[in-house]
Symmetry: D2
Subunit: 305 residues, 4 copies
Amino acid sequence: MNKILERIIIDNKELTKKGKVADYIPALSKANPEDLGVCIIDMNNNIYTAGDYDKKFTIQSISKTVALMLAIMDNGEEKVFSKVGMEPTGDAFNSIYKLETGDISKPLNPMINAGAIAVSSLIKGGSSEERFERLLSLFRKISSNDNLKVNEEVYLSEKRTGNKNRAMGYLLKDMGVLEGDVEETLDVYFRQCSIEVDCIDIANIGLFLANSGTILKTGENIVSEHVAKIVKTFMVTCGMYNSSGEFAIRVGIPAKSGVGGGIMGAVPRRMGIGVYGPALDERGNSVAGYGVLRDLSRELNLSIF
Amino acid sequence: MNKILERIIIDNKELTKKGKVADYIPALSKANPEDLGVCIIDMNNNIYTAGDYDKKFTIQSISKTVALMLAIMDNGEEKVFSKVGMEPTGDAFNSIYKLETGDISKPLNPMINAGAIAVSSLIKGGSSEERFERLLSLFRKISSNDNLKVNEEVYLSEKRTGNKNRAMGYLLKDMGVLEGDVEETLDVYFRQCSIEVDCIDIANIGLFLANSGTILKTGENIVSEHVAKIVKTFMVTCGMYNSSGEFAIRVGIPAKSGVGGGIMGAVPRRMGIGVYGPALDERGNSVAGYGVLRDLSRELNLSIF
Amino acid sequence: MNKILERIIIDNKELTKKGKVADYIPALSKANPEDLGVCIIDMNNNIYTAGDYDKKFTIQSISKTVALMLAIMDNGEEKVFSKVGMEPTGDAFNSIYKLETGDISKPLNPMINAGAIAVSSLIKGGSSEERFERLLSLFRKISSNDNLKVNEEVYLSEKRTGNKNRAMGYLLKDMGVLEGDVEETLDVYFRQCSIEVDCIDIANIGLFLANSGTILKTGENIVSEHVAKIVKTFMVTCGMYNSSGEFAIRVGIPAKSGVGGGIMGAVPRRMGIGVYGPALDERGNSVAGYGVLRDLSRELNLSIF
Amino acid sequence: MNKILERIIIDNKELTKKGKVADYIPALSKANPEDLGVCIIDMNNNIYTAGDYDKKFTIQSISKTVALMLAIMDNGEEKVFSKVGMEPTGDAFNSIYKLETGDISKPLNPMINAGAIAVSSLIKGGSSEERFERLLSLFRKISSNDNLKVNEEVYLSEKRTGNKNRAMGYLLKDMGVLEGDVEETLDVYFRQCSIEVDCIDIANIGLFLANSGTILKTGENIVSEHVAKIVKTFMVTCGMYNSSGEFAIRVGIPAKSGVGGGIMGAVPRRMGIGVYGPALDERGNSVAGYGVLRDLSRELNLSIF
């Protein structure tokens, strides 16, 4: 398996040149566009790696999956989905106009920014710090990594420049979707996006979802199979920004990407996958990471369809 | 199994009262809103039925799956997807505005009307009659029913009143997506929507997809496993109009609905399902049919996620 | 006055190089982009001209003003404005999406294509020929030119390629705005756009509006002062496509432009103006024609504000 | 003249029952829906009044005209219109989606909220207090009322609940339109909307515009005729929210309304008009105030068209 991974990394290395590192904040633009790494963890907890699997990057939108779980754990499915919809959208992840022109008065799904901000507002706690600490605890548990922490430079930078997300927050407040303080919710959101991980960490989170909400190593059950299924379904219908439909067809693995360059995959009952390649295509997905997952899916027959 | 089906039909019968029969053309409005039927065909070709499984209805949007297959068979994947996208959308199935305001100049996917019209324009043949005959042949083959035919009353009615579809056709023509004559393409489209089927017919089509593009009974391979997968993936991401995301979460079966009241399900490597219940919810899906599939999925553990 | 006009033509000649002749149909693309002409007719019926004032061009969208008058004469104000709104829009003249997403279910105003098509459908007559003949009669009368006629090459070309207008027609039909046959209405519309005029002709139409609906030369009253005012108001709020607001500020003359390169001006109680310059800016207005009117407005103090 | 005004007030009193007082903040909802008043000041400085002409109300969107003047005085026309467009729009005054989906990356015009916020950001001063004080000074001068001041209850209420305006502010910041601090700009904006006036005050401001930017009483010139013209033009094309087009046709007076119930009219070289009637139609204009202006326009022949 390690050999397969190494070959696939080599085969897709060229693709890194077709993308561009995210540059909306300086901290992200410092990433090396040629980095490419992968990690697979199977149901026997075997860990296979190749390439730059141990490089650190911020988790960004991948965090939306875990925040959704915690929001459901804290509020129940019904409350959460009264605030955010279940439908995919052909629009960009940071699109705002549907909040105003759509026929439902809530964000379309929890994987676009507007929906993710609504979800973060539902995480319980007495302050934004406490709310984030509860979320970070969950991240540490399901990634089996007690050392996960926020990249402070990225967090502060996101917070300072995140005016489109701020606009969404206030619009959601105006619509009655977001209940608490907008800046506090955004603080949780910016922190969660800035958690620093490597391929092994997100492969572990993917494995946890593949294993239906139970931590494989310890056997500890965190969420019901049903909730794990909800998350994996969103990963298929909306996980790869507005390339989700194409990705479902060409790859067929429940996956969630982030503009930090990571993609987390969860193949039900088979494996968790973590990929890292910071050169992004125009929709915000890792170009070469996409290629790695496509090749893995073909080689190992991983499509769920 | 027949018992399970009968119980599920009884359990969901009440739901038929929550919907309304499609009434945009008189022929459809004559359906009995309380009808509810189901048929399952498994990989051993066992046929299980309950309720009004033998009532006839027009296939409507379910036909989009088969037309897509034929368009790919005729033109190859690349050509087809140069004319129609792969992305789901949160908009209604008959929405037109994204054709103008979207960032790609083609319909978002082949399951919304605009995309389906583009797909129908790609079916080869010397005339609209010939093109439709080729499509009807394919329908007959994969439904194992040589008697499938168009309901002429519905066809003529669709053709006479289908002005929004006509508008889409001319807009697609203007955009350079639709190549041939608009009225001819619409003629194919209106005919394909008016093919009359029952639950057994669409269960057979679902079975053919579940069996990866090979007719189970005869072993005849019609399309590659890859193409069958494409169709099933679209069924998951866009098959249930703008409830597709919710359906994926709550049911998790690749399915395609039509405003005639039918829903076709294809559970990979397990079974084909046909459901009929003409009372529709506001998004155009059979209310009780949705319920039947949800119950089936839970009872038989059919979710692919 | 002739001297002023000549100087203004010379001053704006350079601007013709900044625009592009309309090329969506071959007949229009044959125009000489450097042509520039002007004609002013004052309330004493003095005619002043300069430049290419006698070059022929098709009237295009300028016809929307006259069609609106006839529709009101035929149906009354109330009926007409139940089918088309009175509000300007920041969108392009050939934009279609607001028909679907707007909060009123009719075109926003009679100066955008969708609204103009709705207006043309209201012109009375037993056939499209008869309806157009009635409209052409009105054109001839108010332009004091009995020889006005359709440029057949342009008409047939518009008809053959006008698929976006066709899409609008069918969408309006679907919405219940357009009552008769779509193709017949479009036939009237394509013909009216293809009427061939020169600067004197449109200056005469402008004069008729400036003179509150009475033909100056003959004293014949055609429409009430009120109706003439309606038309001039639309010329201010929506006459220059989506540069109308800017034009009102920079020029302040009720004016209507067409993609044939003409602009008709009507300065209340002072004069009619016809300008021709086929090189268009990106919004569809004559680049140099805009300049001519701006200079005229400043020099002769013509702004109504 | 006083008689005419009194009759017109009586004639339109009934209309007050067709509207609803703004209720998005408690302070506004306390207004008496049956109030109706008018004031006309002519070029000889004669003041005519009728009805509740001396009732106080907050100026709201009417302030956008004066803020625009100050922004132009502070920055020049070119800078201001690089940040905000000149085109009317068929959308609601508080609409946000065009900021994202429009083809120009700035608010369409300075009379919608997004544009007005951009304009307020251009008013110079070391702090929001100083910027507002400069604006208030201008208000006092052109209304010939040194006692104008902010209604603190309304101001604080707007500030606390103005989340949609806040969303616009952050979106404008993200787009690079708004340069300074968002909350500071909003503070200026919320204050300017909360200035308390009566009919005489806004008639004086209208008179100042009608008199081309010179205070009639003192002869002091404040802005050029050109700038006064710009403001009056915006009042025609965008002054009455998304009823501006209809108002131009039915009334034809440059006018600006506010959700506090006021409408300011400026009839070039003839008079300033102030109307007050807090019962609003669904687009945010004073129902009976609209009627009063329509009757005045007919009776005194005030349309500029």
